[in-house]
Symmetry: C4
Subunit: 212 residues, 4 copies
């Protein structure tokens, strides 16, 4: 029945749109909530312009954790979007895999707060790393599922099909290596993770420019 | 007048889109706000890596309540979406029924906080259960209203028309049975409710796999 | 140049969509933020199931203020939507009038908090009433502007054109009368305002049923 | 291959839509979060209607900072929208430039809080000004990039192409001049910045009226 199949495609398509809308909402709130944890100095401690500037210095770890989390959220937002752009139709399963993905995203403000408060503790860094691993694993699952359940758009080039999972695996290996550097120091670890993130956000620009 | 009717259909259609957008926004904020109540350990109490990990253990009830509420929100989001996908056009009444539904959704962070703080109290569990019952009742009302007011898409299979209300009734009976188990213990009750929720989120996947 | 005019229409149309999206986002956040101010009882004060239930009673004023504000937000959301549905294209002016409208909406969580804390004070009720008056005035301005600047869809019935401003004036007169009742008591005033709101949300259903 | 190019255009177009949705979400949350910092007077300090009104007076600086930030957010929201309306297709680079822009937007509630608390400190005003400069710089970068990478819609009039960057430069010069006035006093500075903002929000209305 072509009529029925058209109906279902339409409904599924709309499902994907609402899933995208929910995702955009969750990412928007998570990105903005992070800033609620950036405390301002207490007025009682500040009496001069100099004191105000100096009172901002101890907030450094908060800023580092905040900036890193914004990068993390940006990367996963872009990653999920790339997948959804290549998916022809949604399904109940796919919806719940993505709700699981979004669950791990909503946890990030918690891990960020924990890391900001205990930035020299390996336990805090380990929990933060788990919060990078988990959404990555969900996106990997999402694409594997979409491939097996034949939900991918017919016009998706074979190159894209293969590269998405590979990309997740490489990125997650680099994050894991970065996190492992905390045997030296959590700051080294954070530096390594941020470098990997900046590589994914900025480097393609440099590479592409070289090519062209 | 075909012209006027087209105009109204377009306006109504747009109404449904904005209702969906408002709903996605409210669900996104509610899902993300939950995490604001996940407190991190006080820095003064933590001096070693071990102490940090141990300080996270008492947060257990918060996590249980948080995870359960995310499931609740996911189930009602998916449930509302299924209905809206089959509704041809909105109406003032339907809008207000759904605003009532969204009102019960915005209360969930409150019930969650109450349950997290008083997780062994039957009163807290009872209030939480009412907050599962209320959105279910609103969705039931929404579908009944849409049926009577003839707002459902013509191509919605009779099978779907009947199943939506039945599904709400069965799910709510199971939740009520789960909540009733608090005569034994609130933890038993919570376990039962989460199992019912996981059944709705995950089980269809298993069943479908068996069939195919 | 028909090409240019088409371009501009498209851009303006997209403006209206983004204005609607921003509005839905702001209403969604405001509706959900209200609940952050619903405090739960302190654990130290509660030792039995009875005590937990009794500890919820003094939260009454918070709930009244919260429920009333959800109604207020729902009414203004629906009111703005009705206008936007009849507007053909946006303009810079209209955008800023609606940003002004949204500004008054973001103030509502503040007035609600103030009223919840000082529910027997006429000053708190007066400020709350100003926060119902202000968005009403902005919506009135928006429609008047859209009429004068010829931004309304050609197929909008004359009946609708006239009724939108009249509706705002009547509703605001009723709210003002309700607020004036605070010379007796703020509770009388709140009761009257909520009745007017319920009238706008629920009553049309009853009237329509009688007609049909 | 026209087929492939069509595919990519579609995907890119959808990218722009999701970027717009994420932006609307972030602006909506930022605009609404500001109000969380508007504290209400402590109940213990208030015993009469007069005392309640007087207790609101010291909140003045908070309101000034809040109102100014809402204007700032409105201006940048409208500015980003104008750009996106003229961009034909997105790109990875453009996405990350806009994520950078959104990052500076999420910082605004922090700068606002800082300014509200330390409104007579030049350091607080200087940080706030940096938070107006940064999103302006990102929007300038975005348009320059879109021009060089040929992402702008073919039907964008040459007049619009040139005016966007010029507009950013003029506005930012005026903001910088306003911020420089803090050598006199931070209040003079704030007044000047708000006047510039109101000029961008309101003045075009007056000018256009004169013309027509």
């Amino acid at each position: 029945m072509p009529g029925t199949s058209t109906l279902y495609n339409r409904i599924q398509g709309r499902n994907l749109e609402r899933l995208a809308a929910l995702s955009d909402g969750i990412f928007a709130v998570a990105m903005t909530l992070l800033v609620l944890d950036l405390h301002i100095p207490a007025a009682a401690q500040v009496h001069t312009e100099r004191e105000l500037l100096f009172a901002l210095v101890p907030l450094g770890p908060q800023w580092v954790a905040y900036g890193m989390s914004f990068l993390t959220l940006g990367i996963f937002w872009a990653g999920q979007q790339t997948q959804l752009n290549h998916i022809r139709e949604g399904s109940r399963d796919l919806t719940w895999i993505h709700l699981g993905f979004l669950f791990t995203i909503t946890l990030l403000p918690f891990s960020t707060r924990l890391l900001a408060e205990f930035i020299t503790y390996r336990a805090a860094l380990g929990i933060y790393w788990l919060n990078i691993l988990a959404p990555g694993a969900m996106l990997y699952w999402s694409w594997t599922h979409a491939t097996h359940a034949d939900l991918i758009k017919a016009d998706t080039p074979a190159e894209v099909r293969g590269s998405i999972c590979r990309r997740v695996l490489i990125a997650q290996s680099l994050y894991a290596a970065g996190a492992a550097l905390c045997v030296i120091n959590t700051w080294v670890s954070i530096g390594a993770i941020v470098l990997v993130q900046l590589n994914y956000a900025v480097a393609p620009r440099i590479w592409r420019r070289k090519r062209s």
